[in-house]
Every structure is written in structure tokens, then in C-alpha cells.
Point group: C2
Amino acid sequence: MTNSASINGAATGEFELIDAIVKTLGAASTGSHVLLGPGDDAAMIALPAGDALVTSVDTLLPDVHFPEGAAAPLIGQRALRVSVSDLAAMGAQPLACVISLVLPKSTHPQWVRDLSRGFADAALEFGCPVTGGNLTAGPLSICVTVQGSVPAEFALTRDGAQPGDDVWVSGPLGGAAVALIEGELDRVPGLVADAAMSQTQQQYFLPTPQLTLGVGLRLVATSAIDISDGLAADLGHIVHRSEVAIALDGAAIPRFAGATLEQALYGGDDYHLCFTAPKSQRDVVNQLGDGLRRIGYVSAGAPKLLLDGAVLPQRGFDHFASEKN
Amino acid sequence: MTNSASINGAATGEFELIDAIVKTLGAASTGSHVLLGPGDDAAMIALPAGDALVTSVDTLLPDVHFPEGAAAPLIGQRALRVSVSDLAAMGAQPLACVISLVLPKSTHPQWVRDLSRGFADAALEFGCPVTGGNLTAGPLSICVTVQGSVPAEFALTRDGAQPGDDVWVSGPLGGAAVALIEGELDRVPGLVADAAMSQTQQQYFLPTPQLTLGVGLRLVATSAIDISDGLAADLGHIVHRSEVAIALDGAAIPRFAGATLEQALYGGDDYHLCFTAPKSQRDVVNQLGDGLRRIGYVSAGAPKLLLDGAVLPQRGFDHFASEKN
């Protein structure tokens, strides 16, 4: 309730924390289309005329979606980047996001400022200002709702893959899985420059939403998804939503340095785009980026995913799996 | 990953739970402006031409924002209603919402279906379809992001109160506080018809977002806020954002049956609108509803809130208060 927040110890109030977050965000909560930023009952933005609104929400929990001891700016960066990636998968351009934080009462204000700096850095890099949010005390969680826009008829969805289409992926897979398995994530220092991180650590904490590619694919791709749960699981969504079969060529799947085919298929957290496009568009697709690789093709028939001719088990990360019968 | 979810025990997987939620939502996830509902990387909706997008996010935690043992449909109803209330406070009309659920692994699928039925009932009642969401395992929380639209120039904000304006409230306050203090919330049966609840229980679990009033106030009010943290705390936001003084007449503040002035001032969870409007608009305001009451006036000077001539302490709910020095 005060406008003169003084945060200089471990103990502070809700409104002082909000004030510190808003101050840290600074220019990252503004934009020419932002009509009302943090501080009112709701945020307000203008949409490009004629475009549809695209919205995605993700909640990140410690030791599920990020290591609890990771540097706060990296947690903030990752939270925003993985959400913006969903916009890229739709062929949408970012407009804004709102963030709902649940923080333990013992959270140090500096940690909150560092987290907010991560939000701010990613918001500025990807043009996705943080226009509002919510703060409450409880078990740590970060809920990011991103909003973007796309002409509705050009949106990339999961249900348009056609028999005869090629299957593409936008870059090497398995990098984040290597970082996870090798325990590299626990060795990230508290405050890091990007250069101090290994390539696989960077892949995990600072994935690059494929926004430019997504826009380029609007007139080209028949379906698209971003790879968050692993290539096999996410292609499974296209298979079932498009009601097609997809055959992958294992040798053609690009792998991050040091990653196995298993990690490339099931690792997750890659945030490259996987998409389908007609064969007639191969030259166009190849002009959209250097790292694009053709990894298989779509065919008619019962929905299934094949690797080198054999049906691929549908294993992906299931948050509720350990309670399964 | 399967389209034929079978939920008949306490144990199930993430994708089966999502399927059960989407099935329970049914028509409550659709609408003529909903271009893409649950099941893709993001939801997609069309906005009324020329309108601005209004967005608000809230996270609800057990035993903070609802009693952990309350009936799941009531928790779902309350979650959506308190979020839609933020749209009413902006003079906006609901468009859609996305819901991110964190559920303990032990959550019974029937509880999730009941919660979703609460979401669906409120979504249909207030025209706010649930177009997407997220599900992860962890400590129970419900994060609702609501989206609405309003012509930007007519949006109701907190910063426009002018000296000489009247201060209004849309209905009796303190009902939810009575329910809280009298422990009534713990006595709500597991599955209830509205009629089985006391009036104060209904006020707590089923507050009515003042959407029609919000739209009616677009051309009339100079500032508005919904009363979630208590009249004193929420009017404090108008005082500070508008940089005005506000004087309240204690006897004029409408109280819920059985509520004290203290409960009406500090109770919270009322979700009535509090707003300011020029004196010249009194007749217009009175035509907007029966329960509207004039409770004070705005004056120039240092931002402060007065009750019957004395400065009112700024007490509201502070989620981090118990850690304060």
C-alpha cells in the first residue's frame, strides 16, 4: 500500500514485494500496445486489427520444471521462454504475459528481484511485456500466461498433417536431457553470465522460442508443435489430432552434441518446433533456417508413430505417472 | 495420449485427467468467438473489432482462498467468479479464461470432475468459456487467467477519481467475513444445492461479478475497483492511484445482515464494485441498480481515507504479513 517500498532485509510485505517486482520489470512491462500495465484490476492491451488472440498457460514448480537451487534469473528466463515457445508453435507473435507467483513467506526479496530480472530480460528479448500478475504466499510456483496474435486463418495447429507431408524439426534435440542426466543443472552458479554455462545448461535454461520460424511457417506448414515433452510424445499429439501415421528415420533426427537417439526422442525441454509440410514446399522450408532437418513423412492409416519401421512406444513425461496402477 | 479415458479409480494419468476435465467442461469450453479450444499448444479466440483486451490472473490456494474441505464444485465456482469480478471492475465483458491446475498426485478423479463442473457452471453463467489450461502434480493450487474486452476509452481504472465525485458501493458488505468468522465455511456439505447454503456461505462461495453494472458504469464512473481485500484496502488503491482524499460516512455503508461496520470495512471477499462518479451523474447511477449506495465523497489533498472525519488505518489482507518485522 506504500509507494516508497524499502526492501533491505529478508522480511517484507506483499505490497512492497509487488512494488519491487514492478520496479525491476521497468520497461519490460510497457510497449506501444500496452494500454494499462501493472497496478489496476487488470491489464489492458491493443491487438493488431483483424488478428486472433492466442493464449497459453504453464505453471512451473521447483524440482519438476527447474532445479530449486538454480539461479533466480535463469528460472525467470526459462519460465518466460518456454511459454513464449507455445506462441511460436502457433505461428503467433507475442503481445504480453501475466505472471502469478506463489512464494514461500521466507523468500528473500533479492531472490524475487533476481527472478524478476530474468522475466524482464526474456520479456524484452522476445517482445512479450509483463503487463500484470498476482502474488500470494505458499509453496513456490510460477504460473505464466502468454498472449500473442496471429491472423486466424494462418495459425499453426496440431490437426492439419496430411498423408504425403514431410516431417521436419527445427534443430538438434536432446541437449536439455544431457544436462539433466549429467547433473549439470545442479552446478549452475548462483549468478551467471551466459558464457559461464555449458551449451547443454544453456539449452535447458535459455531455450530459444522459434518465433521467426513460426511466422515463416504460417503459409507453409500443415501442422506444428513445440517439443517440450520430447519428440515422440509431442509428435504423438500431431498423430492423434491429425489422425495420421508418421514414420521417422532415426538416422535423420538431428542430435545435440553428446545426446543419444533415446535422449533426442524422449528427452524433452528442447523447445524446437516439429512440423509437417507438403513435399512441394521443401525448397521454401529450407530457406527458413539452417538447422531445419527432414526426419520422416506422414502417411494415411491408423494413428501411430513409427521409428525405422517399428511402432514407437508412447513414452513422455506424465506428471501423475507414479500413481498409476 | 489416449482418447478413450477411463477414470474409475483413484489412480490415473495426466492425459486421462485432462481428458476428464475437457469432457466435463463440454459446451463451457466453446463459443462462437472461440476459434480453438483445449487440446493444442494454445487457445485462440476472436475479439470484438476495435475493443482492447483486458486480462487478470489470480491463484487460489487451499485454506487461504478457500477451505480445503469445501465442496469441489463450490471451489471451482468461486475460482472463476472472483476472477470474472476483475473484468467487471474494468467495465469489460468476459471473453474466455485459461486455468492452470496443480493437483496432489493423490487427488481423486471425481474431485477433479466436480471441480471442473464448478468451472463449467460459472463459465456458462457468465459467458466466460474455459478455452485451455495446464495440469501438473504438486501442492494444490488453481490459477485462473480471465480475458475480457472493452473499448479502451471506456475502461474503468483506479486512477480517475476527481475531487467532488461521489463514492458508491454496489451492495451490502461483510457477508463473506461473517461466514469466515462464524466458521460456516467448514460446515458446507460435500455436495450442495445452492439452497442448502446460508446466505453468508453463498456470498463467500458464489459471489456475483457485477458485469452488467460495470458495463453501465463505462460512461459514468471516474474510477472503479472490485472489493476483494476489503472496502478500506481497495478504496486505498483508488486513493493512492488517483491521488485524492476520500471521506466515508460510516452510517451510509451498507452491511450484510449480521455484519459489523468493522467487517464491512475490512472483511474482504465481497466482490461488490466500489466506484466514484460525478455528482451530476447521481440520477444515472441510481438507475443502474437497486442496491447502489452513496457512501462518501472525494476531495483534493494528500491521499488518505477518512471514516467519519478520522483517518482510517490501512489494514487489508497481506499474504506476507506474518513475516513482517
